[in-house]
């Protein structure tokens, strides 16, 4: 695996965690599908995504975290860090083995049958949690807890693990990834977790990421007025922090505000003016009087 591939996956992970509905998750998956690491079969990927988006989400997340570990020299297997890496690698190996079989499947029916065999992160969580319990002072404890929260987000362990993270690791500068994962999580109260992080983290980057993530959670709850306030705060206080889909948190928050204010159901769509692939220009407003489907698409 090359470093470039690692970086691509880290970006995918980021897009993914910041995606604010199921459709949006797809773009990161599509990109991941192109990368060498997950090596999806051409043509098989789209049904993969439709079949098991939640499972795939886990795959991308763990690839991202694993990629980070790969950049360093491998620690000896006897150390907590070595044990952590071994666990992460074991899970990734299980994923790769799964995708080898999955990509070889010929029909949707076969693929559907296989989707139940995807390696479940909750089967690995107890070992990560054990590692964290045995090495509470080692930085690996934080990584192991984060693995559980970001991978096993639909499992039973997520609430207890979050509690430990907020209690023992609230000052960790990498807590932003936990905040992002709250956008898609079965955690009992993702909004409360985010509010705690915003209140107690000493790091601006973490606070900014948590505020933006809370905005996405509020949008998901159809509380657009609250979401607007949060996105305005993001622009005002954390605008320069990197994150979101296109650059900084300010860009991401502006995009969200535009969507809430101008692209909601019941609003007149803003005009689109541009050129087709042959350079001929045309406008959305040319089609007034007709029912129009706008399809943002790409051949991936």
């Amino acid at each position: 695996m090359t470093l470039a591939t690692c970086d691509t996956n880290a970006t995918n992970l980021h897009d993914f965690a910041f995606a604010n509905d199921q459709h949006r998750r797809r773009v990161a998956l599509m990109k991941a599908r192109r990368s060498k690491y997950l090596s999806f079969a051409p043509g098989g990927g789209i049904s993969t995504v439709v079949l098991i988006p939640a499972l795939m989400f886990s795959a991308v997340v763990s690839v991202g975290l694993g990629a980070e570990a790969d950049k360093k020299a491998e620690p000896p297997a006897s150390t907590p860090a070595g044990q952590y890496d071994a666990l992460v690698n074991e899970y990734q190996k299980a994923q790769q083995d799964f995708f080898k079989v999955y990509n070889a499947a010929k029909t949707d029916e076969e693929r559907e049958k296989l989707s139940g065999k995807y390696p479940q992160p909750q089967a690995y969580s107890p070992r990560f949690l054990d590692l964290a319990r045995k090495n509470p002072k080692d930085p690996v404890a934080f990584n192991a807890l984060v693995w559980v929260v970001t991978n096993d987000r639909y499992g039973q362990q997520v609430n207890d693990t979050l509690e430990v993270l907020l209690r023992d690791h609230i000052e960790n500068e990498k807590l932003g990834q936990v905040a992002q994962s709250m956008v898609y999580s079965n955690a009992r109260e993702p909004a409360k977790t985010l509010e705690s992080i915003i209140e107690k983290s000493p790091h601006r980057e973490v606070k900014g990421t948590a505020t933006y993530s809370l905005g996405l959670v509020r949008r998901g709850e159809q509380k657009d007025a609250e979401a607007e306030k949060l996105f305005e705060q993001v622009i005002e206080k954390f605008g320069d922090v990197e994150g979101g889909f296109r650059g900084t948190l300010a860009d991401a928050a502006r995009g969200q505000l535009f969507e809430i204010r101008n692209l909601a159901i019941g609003k007149v769509a803003p005009d689109i003016e541009g050129e087709d692939v042959d350079g001929k220009s045309f406008k959305l407003s040319d089609y007034r009087g007709k029912v129009v489907v706008i399809d943002f698409w790409g051949d991936w």
């Binding site: 959305l284 089609y287 399809d295």
Partner: protein, 108 residues
């Protein structure tokens, strides 16, 4: 996606309906796809990647993203696919037809 869209466009030929794409592929690639998939509908070419001006303005971060607009340009449905997309379009076409029938009645 493509076969479904092709059949939607074909089925509604002659009706007050348009499918418009916003494409995020490199130009040579999208040209190939349009030809290969026999796409009869138009697409704006959005600069060759997912950060194009139209997708950015519309805050799109997942593909495909679908908006369905009524004949007045009002956004009526978002993120509908396949049969849900067809149903949305049919409902809006029926609404338009009712309005036109109602509108052409001579007032008494």
């Amino acid at each position: 996606m493509y076969p479904h869209e092709r059949s939607l466009v074909k089925r509604l030929e002659g009706k007050p309906f348009a499918l418009l794409g916003v494409n995020s592929d490199p130009k040579d690639r999208v040209k190939q796809v349009i030809k290969k998939e026999n796409m009869t509908w138009r697409s704006w070419w959005d600069g060759g990647d997912t950060s194009g001006p139209i997708a950015t303005k519309w805050n799109v971060s997942g593909w495909p993203t679908i908006y369905v607009l009524d004949h007045k340009g009002v956004i009526r449905y978002k993120h509908v696919r396949e049969k849900a997309m067809d149903d949305a379009v049919d409902a809006l076409l029926a609404e338009l037809q009712r309005e036109q029938v109602g509108g052409t009645k001579s007032p008494k």
